[in-house]
Symmetry: C2
Subunit: 133 residues, 2 copies
């Protein structure tokens, strides 16, 4: 695939997430997918995403920056959402937070085979009232 073809596949994957079209996930995610070193497989990957949407009902993925060089994609995602309870161990509890995720994907063919993700936890902490300790 060319750079632009891979970018298009990736944007279709993000649209799939945003529409929570879970049956379509297998078009974009390899059955043996790994996420941050964990061999989730596509079923575990789907469970992770379903849990995210359950805990963050207004979750939406917005691509801020995309760097494509097959078989790799690097994406800076922006979130502006209201997690219901704890998120990354932080008591967000319905407050609106904005944060970024910088994430790399390795594709095998047209499918995501491995993901290395880092979420900007410090940015979320800065938006919350300091805990009393």
């Amino acid at each position: 695939m060319t750079q632009s073809e891979l970018s298009n596949v990736y944007r279709d994957y993000i649209a799939c997430l945003n529409s929570q079209d879970w049956p379509a996930l297998e078009r974009f995610v390899h059955e043996d997918v790994k996420h941050n070193g964990a061999q989730l497989g596509i079923s575990g990957y789907r469970r992770m995403l379903e849990r995210d949407f359950s805990e963050i009902p207004d979750l939406s993925f917005h691509v801020e920056l995309l760097v494509s060089n097959p078989p790799y994609i690097a994406s800076r995602l922006r979130f502006n959402c209201t997690p219901k309870g704890k998120f990354l161990g932080l008591a967000v509890c319905g407050r609106r937070v904005s944060f970024a995720e910088n994430v790399f994907y390795e594709f095998r063919g047209e499918k995501i085979a491995e993901v290395w993700s880092v979420i900007d936890k410090g940015a979320i902490e800065a938006q919350l009232v300091p805990p009393s300790d």
Copy 2:
């Protein structure tokens, strides 16, 4: 610049950091550089790096994954180091920690003009003894 030329410039930049060759920094960093939205300029950028090396004497940047698509570079950096005191607000205090930074760079010519960095704070927390609270 081609993808491989930009990658080579970036690897020279990382070598510059690892050798703490601060006079050479201006070859790689634009005088008006922004870092995570802050207009640091090259002098502020250098101060940030010098402070990092002061607080983490064994700091070393290791490129794990590099995605180049001019004028952008995305890099996954790996650190294996022993911050002397607090790091990202965490009391590391001389313990050895391993963590990643997923970071995007926008180049203007051969120089870094803007940086969007996220450090995996959660991975560091997981390596520290839980605080008593």
